[in-house]
């Protein structure tokens, strides 16, 4: 125990040091409300990039050309990862993305531009005049503090497909297709230095200084954005309650998500997500279950183009053998280009009536190239009287587009045997993908984790059963827009004298604007009647049914199931749903209404209604 405390203390201290030393020097400004006000004001301001040039005079010619069409354009000298500095040409500044999209489409329709990319406004002072001119705006001296303490090296480029766009001069300019991963609003000191040097060489030192000054203002003005999302869902259904009679249940769910930070530039950020519920009918249906949870809430520090990542608070951790919600600290960092370590420690998020367990673990990945990864992972959870120690290996190898092989094996260090194996491959040839897969579970090693009272599956550890599941998925893009998929899995057991096979076939037809039609047939075919079922499904999703370019949709689902062995005297089930919804106010409000009707062995006639309002800010 003492050892665990020492490790956790060391872990916390080092991680905190890393965080503190990575922070900007002036944190007071980060916490100040005015900065958030500025960033909030800018969060909806966008502009359109229409072209990019290596030479300044070509960019200026493009601006002249655009202006001859009555289009106001500006250029900005920016760093493109792996491709050096480019003069990007922007047109227009808008408060709403939808306005920018409409304007870009109108320019394309007139043949003025051939390509567009809607981005956060890179000239914020031109849009948010009140912000830039406000006397309450922070002083420049304090703004400098938000520049990185040391200039990070220029990030290498991700592989980019060379899509060429033709400019009026007839020359083909490479348009960065991975969409220039360094955000335009975040010039690094290195970029500013390069920009200044480049301009000095061309005799434009003064404009470069002004540009650098502008970038500093820009960088300070956008330390982060605030996002808020609220989803309110009212569910209406009838259920048996403790009285033994059907009664109306009207749960009202409220999901709230808060995000503060700069999603592109990194730095400090805060994220929280949780829900609460109130039964408007005041029934007893939910009396034994929780009325709300904080699913996560954490402070995060991250850097773009880096594996440096530090998270403090309640968080979901997926790292090798770990798949847990933990209240604690997680730290990830790269050790050179080939090694990445993830380390965490804290307490597991326990059930209401259970004592939380301390846990810590790590995943260390070796990746000589991103396409080849081998990792080991470890987790130790100190449940009193029933510790859980596991270790594992996971890997993924990718050979060009053709083959991917990946897998994970988890080892129970307490029982001294393998808990599970899961391996899969993807073999791709033109429009065909074949994905063979294999899984293995050893019940006594897999289910023997954590405290018995918290583990409903704990009784399975007393069997020596092992199951192996082998099979393959198949995908075929028949002809656009038709997709076909299939699945076959065979289940074999070490003790149970039975096998089972699962077959499924899917068809999907992708129509315009995200509309889709599809169907599914599946059959679980065990050797005993009570392990056989069949499922038939058809569905549709019709986007913009009114044809006005709106974000409305109508969708429907019909599912039929039959069971070889009747359950509660019924050997079939049917389920129907019909939904409609619309997004309003520049997609900030979504309203959805769904009605379902089902018959199954548990419910003779079951009708449910769902009404959802989602607000994104």
């Amino acid at each position: 125990m003492l050892l665990r405390i020492l490790v956790f203390t060391l872990f916390s201290t080092l991680s905190s040091l890393a965080l503190i030393s990575s922070l900007p020097a002036d944190q007071d400004n980060f916490r100040s409300g005015e900065v958030r006000t500025i960033s909030s004001a800018n969060s909806t301001a966008v502009t359109i990039q229409v072209s990019s040039f290596k030479k300044q005079d070509e960019a200026e010619k493009e601006i002249v050309r655009l202006k001859s069409h009555g289009v106001d354009a500006k250029t900005r000298y920016e760093s493109v990862p792996g491709k050096g500095m480019w003069y990007r040409v922007y047109v227009g500044r808008f408060q709403k993305k939808s306005e920018a999209r409409t304007y870009a489409e109108s320019l394309k329709a007139k043949g003025i531009i051939t390509w567009s990319w809607i981005k956060p406004n890179v000239f914020p002072h031109a849009v948010v005049k009140t912000t830039a001119q406000s006397s309450s705006a922070p002083k420049l001296s304090s703004r400098k503090a938000f520049l990185p303490r040391s200039a990070p090296p220029a990030p290498p480029a991700l592989p980019q497909k060379q899509v060429h766009k033709k400019v009026e001069s007839g020359e083909k300019q490479p348009a960065p297709l991975v969409k220039q991963a360094v955000p335009a609003t975040a010039p690094t000191q290195q970029a500013l230095k390069q920009r200044s040097t480049a301009n000095a060489a061309s005799g434009q030192n003064q404009p470069a200084m002004q540009a650098a000054s502008t970038k500093r203002w820009t960088q300070f003005a956008l330390p982060g954005t605030f996002n808020f999302s609220s989803q309110t869902t009212l569910q209406a259904l009838q259920r048996d309650t403790s009285t033994g009679e059907d009664s109306m249940v009207l749960p009202l769910y409220e999901y709230i998500r808060l995000d503060y930070g700069n999603t592109e530039e990194g730095g400090l950020a805060f994220h929280a997500y949780g829900w609460g519920r109130s039964d408007l009918a005041d029934s007893a249906y939910f009396e034994d279950t929780s009325d709300g949870e904080l699913l996560f809430g954490y402070l995060e520090y991250s850097k773009p183009y880096s594996d440096l990542h530090l998270v403090l608070g309640r968080q979901l951790i997926f790292a090798g053998v770990t798949n847990d919600t933990v209240d604690g600290l997680r730290f990830s960092a790269g050790l050179g280009d080939m090694l990445t370590a993830t380390l965490f420690g804290g307490v597991t998020y326990a059930a209401d009536d259970a004592k939380a367990d301390t846990t810590y673990g790590s995943r260390i990945a070796f990746h000589p190239r991103p396409a080849y990864v081998v990792a080991i992972s470890y987790q130790d959870t100190a449940a009193e009287g029933d510790p859980d120690q596991r270790a594992g290996v996971d890997f993924s190898f990718n050979w060009s587009d053709w083959i991917t092989v990946q897998g994970l094996s988890s080892y129970n260090l307490d029982s001294g045997d393998w808990r599970e194996h899961q391996y899969s491959a993807a073999l791709r040839y033109k429009a065909i993908t074949l994905e063979p897969a294999y899984q293995f579970f050893s019940y006594k090693d897999y289910f023997d984790v954590g405290k018995e009272e918290n583990n409903l599956f704990h009784f399975l550890k007393d069997t020596d059963e092992q199951v192996a599941i082998a099979g393959a998925d198949f995908h075929y893009q028949w002809t656009f827009p038709v997709r076909l998929s299939g699945r076959y899995h065979q289940y074999t057991y070490s003790i149970r004298q039975e096998k089972a096979d699962y077959y499924a076939a899917l068809i999907g037809v992708d129509l315009s604007k995200g509309s889709q039609l599809g169907g599914e047939v599946g059959r679980m075919d065990g050797e005993s009647d009570d392990n056989i079922y069949a499922l038939y499904r058809i569905y549709f999703y019709w986007a913009d049914p009114l044809g006005f370019g709106s974000s409305a949709f109508v969708s429907g689902d019909a599912i039929f199931q039959n069971y070889d062995a009747p359950v509660y005297g019924k050997d079939y089930a049917s389920y129907f749903s019909l939904s409609g919804g619309m997004r309003l106010f520049d997609d900030r409000l979504e309203v959805k209404l769904t009605g379902t009707y089902s018959q199954d062995p548990y419910f003779d006639d079951n009708m449910e209604g769902l009404l959802t309002f989602r607000i994104d800010y």
Binding site: K179, P304, D337, Q422, R428, Y539
Partner: protein
């Protein structure tokens, strides 16, 4: 696990922790050269190869493409790639299914989105009797955690 093995793990753990912190501070942590967020919010982000060059081995874009069964098979892709998932997905997207005590089940929370192959579509209350008998390990991945098992308790105790 014997004490020597445990201490060896801890030694490696602590050494790499120190080395990682030092490396991060020395600017070595360039890692996979990934942005924090996908720069393009529009288009079909499920199919990377529509925009990205996939022939080179610099980054395995094909590995992250979402097939119709991806909701069922993404574990191996995501197990060491939480950072990659977060380029396109907010953590709340993952928490709707993987969060401990997520409230509404995913097919209800995302009602109307019939394009997703939800794991509990249709009459899963009856179907889970069979799936649970044949492969309880799959149920355990999510419902093995205490709060996520709350939905099992009314019937299974």
């Amino acid at each position: 696990m014997n004490k020597i093995t445990a201490r060896t793990f801890l030694l490696i753990f602590c050494s790499l922790l120190v080395a990682s912190v030092v490396a991060a501070q020395r600017g070595w942590a360039q890692g996979k050269n990934l942005p924090l967020a996908h720069p393009q919010e529009e288009g079909d982000l499920r199919k990377c190869s529509e925009c990205h060059e996939t022939e080179s081995n610099e980054f395995p874009f094909k590995r992250f493409e979402h097939t119709p069964f991806f909701g069922d098979t993404h574990r191996l892709t995501a197990v060491g790639s939480q950072r990659v998932c977060q380029i396109c997905h907010r953590t709340s997207f993952c928490a709707d299914c993987h969060g401990t005590g997520a409230g509404l089940r995913p097919s209800v929370k995302r009602h109307g989105d019939t394009r997703r192959l939800m794991p509990h579509r249709g009459d899963y209350l009856t179907r889970h009797r069979i799936d649970g008998r044949l492969n309880p390990g799959k149920c355990f991945r999510c419902h093995g955690r205490p709060k996520a098992a709350a939905s099992c308790k009314p019937c299974h105790g």
